[in-house]
Subunit: 396 residues, 2 copies
């Protein structure tokens, strides 16, 4: 029966078609990157064939955020939401394949990050023991069943079990995609949270430095939603931020947030920079004009990134390569250019990777390694005590 | 790198060492069956090398039951408990291997059922859609990480995704272990819940009939706990039940429970026969003497099983084979012998399978199939619309 086993046919194939699915901390939808992958480990070659974003229905977003923020998260809510999200992810793959004119049955693998609803690397006490833990939902058995495609899911727990923070995981993909013999590079990934991966020239994996800097789009998107009374969920092209004035006193206070100055390894999420954090800013500075506030939180985001680069990266890199980013990507890039001089600024597009596809591609890369039985955490980034094969394989 | 992949070395091995872990609905601990397995599918041969039960600490049991019974189940409780249970399961494997004088590194696979904390095959409404779902916890990444052994977990969601109830899953193992060319057989599995698998003589898999009958040990164990004021968790050898008198009026009422008469496919759990159900019996019949009540709920359990066999199995089998059973196994067997005549009563021991190891062995069998990419649900038992490969594979 072994010839039927999709794992064995996967590793024996030269070219594989992998759908990477990433649903970020903002809980606004799921990114799909249909990717052609050959090889594995350092020999891996990737090409994004199709990128598409599938927004969640507003009600679904509310369900997810309600689950994470409150105590109102009984098993009877979490359990069906896990299966429901599995369906949403499967439909995204099926619909994305249709747009790309790729037959779903041609996919060799789906790699799904899942929706984080809980992430606590510091740990909480249970029966007298401190237990770090994390939960990503979006049932892989539903994805594999609905699509008929082998699915890798649940990447974070294995790194945590190896003593790591379970994040960031994109650094492995950064190393595969961007390492260079003569240039040192810094990959800046902007999702809800921003994180950076520093790869010295001619580095080995263990020399990679990576960590979360603080908020990415999270605070900016929240303000955009509030100031448009829910009509918009983003500040398109950073328009409001560009026309506002940075409020230096507010900025000065925000930048004092302990996570920004905390030494890596470190990872964060909605628990620290979500609705509660952003809502408190609004409450505290209710007299600030909306556009000024947009300018200020955008500047705060840029400053948090720049500050982390300057404080915790041993030397300025030759290149800074932006990936992800959503709506405020370019205004953030411009602010960073002002703050960090003598560096070449690039985007993932310069490497043939559509800006927004970067994170979903990263999980396609991680999923590929999992099926090969190959570790893909970066212990120097997550703080894990050893390498770990990430994720769980679900067969269709 | 493919030679490192434990999946590939697993399927190419002739004999494999598989640790099956089963933690039942009673949430009282975890059963371990270290099993030697050769082949897969109908060619599979199994031998239990070591069986051991690892009871949960009382506080852990309370945490788990608290999670399932109440609304008090925030993510901040579920998430660490999932990781904590992963540690408990890993420790059970490590400790069991020590007792059996087997080096943990010799294990080829751990197959862990996990602790069910939610099971709703009927489904609940989410965003206007009816979504069946189930949750088993005991993080497989922690098990694989702590033991260094490939782990299959989370067997039920795939069957549910294929339209099934996600239960019962033991029928596949029953078919592999007990099918016979000339004798029809009924495997009776008694855990917290009781379920039966009917295998006609010379049957194919699709002719198997299997379903949950109702309570197994669940109500009996609850009463044993209450009547001993928590000093005992079981009625040892059915002593109290044997010395009590069955209260016919109470029995008559209990047996009217709609699940008992419901047509299969059907599955049940603590939601229907757990603390709430048993507690209500005690409240309603508070004048009944403890031993009489023990006799009555034991008779109720036997009657529920016998009634289901008589109503929903097309013909009485040649053999009824008991597996599992815990403390009240033999008194239940004796009661059944009175109720069902003309049948040969056997136990799994007659097939070389220690009575209590039966369920854990079953999951070792299911885990073996998963790594082979081989389906192991029985659609006629679960109501699934098709075969499904069950579970998720986590690499160490």
């Amino acid at each position: 029966m072994t010839e039927l086993n999709p794992i064995i046919s996967y590793v024996s194939k030269k070219d594989r078609l992998v759908a990477g699915l990433m649903s970020g901390t903002s809980a606004d939808g799921v990114d799909l990157a249909i990717t052609q992958i050959s090889g594995n480990g350092l020999d891996m070659k990737t090409k994004v064939l199709h990128y598409q974003f599938f927004p969640y229905a507003q009600k679904l977003k509310e369900e997810i955020l309600g689950l994470s923020c409150s105590n109102n998260s009984a098993l009877s809510m979490i359990s069906p939401l896990n299966f429901y999200l599995g369906e949403i992810f499967a439909e995204a793959v099926i619909s994305g394949c249709k747009s790309a004119q790729i037959n779903v049955s041609k996919l060799d693998l789906i790699a799904s990050h899942g929706q984080t609803v809980y992430h606590n690397p510091e740990g909480s006490k249970i029966l007298g023991k401190n237990i770090p833990s994390t939960i990503q939902i979006g049932e892989s058995s539903v994805i594999a069943s609905k699509t008929g495609v082998m699915t890798v899911s649940d990447f974070r727990p294995a790194d945590m079990a190896a003593g790591g923070q379970g994040a960031p995981l994109v650094p492995y993909a950064d190393f595969i995609l961007y390492r260079d013999l003569s240039r040192s590079r810094l990959s800046l990934n902007i999702g809800g949270i921003s994180n950076i991966t520093y790869i010295p020239a001619a580095a080995s994996m263990s020399e990679v430095i990576a960590f979360d800097c603080g908020p990415g789009n999270m605070v900016i998107d929240y303000m955009a939603g509030k100031f448009s009374r829910g009509k918009k969920s983003i500040d398109e092209d950073g328009k409001r931020a560009s026309s506002g004035k940075i409020q230096k006193d507010i900025l000065k206070t925000l930048i004092k947030h302990p996570f920004i100055k905390k030494k890596p390894p470190k990872s964060t999420g909605r628990e620290e920079f979500g609705e509660e954090f952003a809502g408190n800013i609004l409450k505290r500075y209710k007299k600030a004009k909306p556009d000024d506030m947009m300018a200020t939180v955008t500047a705060f985001t840029a400053e948090a990134i720049a500050g982390n680069i300057k404080s915790f990266i041993p030397a300025l890199p030759h290149d800074i390569i932006l990936g992800g980013g959503g709506a405020p990507a370019f205004i953030l890039l411009n602010l960073l250019k002002e703050k960090i001089e003598g560096v070449k600024f690039l985007t993932s597009d310069d490497f043939g990777i559509p800006l927004k596809a970067k994170e979903a591609l990263s999980f396609a890369i991680l999923g590929n390694e999992t099926v090969f039985g190959y570790p893909s955490n970066v212990p120097s980034a997550t703080g894990a005590s050893r390498n770990a094969v990430l994720g769980k394989i679900t067969l269709p």
